[in-house]
């Protein structure tokens, strides 16, 4: 039953690898078309996902379960944004564009800015010189924090070059090795899927 989809994965995967090595314009055009199709599949997946989101919250509202009011907020905003966006468009001068700038944008940037608080509490809790590794981590982080801001230069002229050195030498070395390993891991993971060695994504544990 799963043989068919496995063949599909193999064929599309192998085709896209082959296209990488074929500069012929036909090959490149084929790639553009396939990628456009992928976009369409993604759009439908969004529809599917939003429908499940809808059903989940609708159930809560209907059963008047704990926090049903909040689910109603999700339902109204989901339906409102979708319908207005499909009918009127989404550019900045539409209702959807305005709501985006008034609601989504500030919510996103405020959520993001909370990280400034979390990073301070995480540093306080985790940066304790318990062993060699933890000490290396904490000392580098402190040098980096001080050396990267204007006040670091006031304290010691050597701070900015030291942070550059940390980034250019030990950091570069570690990241290069990690990047190489990740590259190999990624290639083998992708090949496992294309070659059908790993089929768990199709539902086989």
């Amino acid at each position: 039953m799963r043989f068919g989809p496995l063949v599909v994965t193999f064929l599309t995967g192998a085709t896209l690898i082959a296209i990488f090595f074929i500069p012929h314009h036909r090959a490149q055009e084929t790639q553009s078309i396939i990628l456009e199709w992928a976009d369409v599949v993604y759009a439908f997946a969004l529809v599917l996902g939003s429908l499940t989101l809808w059903t989940m919250h609708q159930k809560k509202v209907r059963q008047r379960g704990e926090g049903w009011f909040y689910s109603a907020v999700t339902l109204v905003s989901l339906a409102g944004m979708t319908i207005l966006g499909v009918v009127q468009g989404v550019s900045a001068d539409t209702v959807v564009g305005r709501v985006y700038n008034m609601v989504n944008a500030p919510l996103a940037s405020t959520m993001f800015s909370l990280l400034a608080f979390f990073i301070a509490s995480a540093a306080f809790r985790a940066f304790r010189a318990r062993n060699v590794e933890a000490t290396l981590l904490l000392v580098t982080a402190i040098v980096m924090m001080i050396g990267r801001v204007s006040i670091g230069e006031f304290i010691w002229k050597g701070f900015p070059p030291l942070t550059e050195w940390l980034l250019d030498v030990p950091n570069l070395a570690a990241k290069r090795a990690v990047a190489l390993g990740i590259g190999l891991g990624a290639i083998s993971t992708a090949l496992k899927i294309i070659l059908g060695i790993d089929r768990s994504y199709l539902g086989r544990g």
């Binding site: 790639q31 456009e36 996103a108 301070a120 940066f127 318990r130 001080i146 801001v149 204007s150």
Partner: protein, 285 residues
Amino acid sequence: MAAATKSFWHRILGVDRRWIFLLVGIGTTLPLLFPVNLPVAPSPRVKAAYQAIEDVPEGSLVLVSLDYEPDIMAELQPMSIAVLRHCFRRHLKPVILTLYPAGPGLIESALAIASAAEGGRVRDEDYVFLGYKSGNQAVILGLGENIRGLFPRDFYGTPTDSIPIMKRVNSFADFPLLINLSGSAIADYYIRIGASRYHRPMVLGSTAVMASDYYPYLSSGQIKGLIGGMKGAAEYERLVGIVGDARHGMDAQSLVHVIVVLLVLLGNVALFATGGPKARIGGGA
């Protein structure tokens, strides 16, 4: 040691994180209300980015992809304004696009500020704004093939074939410089495709966090210069000779860093005062 002092250090170790939050909040707000304007020194990477734009012959078209949304505009918007002002000042003609649906609003506002600050620039003559296109990697692949096919019309609906300066460009290969300011994997795609596959000189602006990820590409020459975060933007503002939002925020930046460092030191003093280092790394309280 007296029992009272010991319990003090224990209390420090187990302090409610909300006290830390409060300190950070105060450390950010006070310097904004009472600025002291600490100076900013440009780093070599930002200087390299500046130089890469300086090296482009006057009148050239440069491809500028501004790929971010409001959530990280704090870091990238001041950078976009500074880079656009620099381009305008050097009479380069940016061809601008974005791969994020919420990007165009930010870009229009950056363009308006940059153009006004540099004495006014004319759309379709001094710059082109192609707008947003979905598809991330697919779009970047398309930029190597046929730009006017990919963007039949610009953001304002003008057919790109009818814009005179667009006749000079249709692929990565036609641009002497590629500028990408982004806070996501988009930068990797541009490096993999624009810089590596099409061998275009590229300047990258990224969030401060992502910046150190791109150091290897800098030393391998795949990118020419790198502007990282609000600090990078402040340094760039300094090179171009302007004072924008980035330079305004630098005092608060310094103070919060000092607070975090003092907290870490305090935590370690408390650790030693209460019985010294043991247990494992990570995990935690």
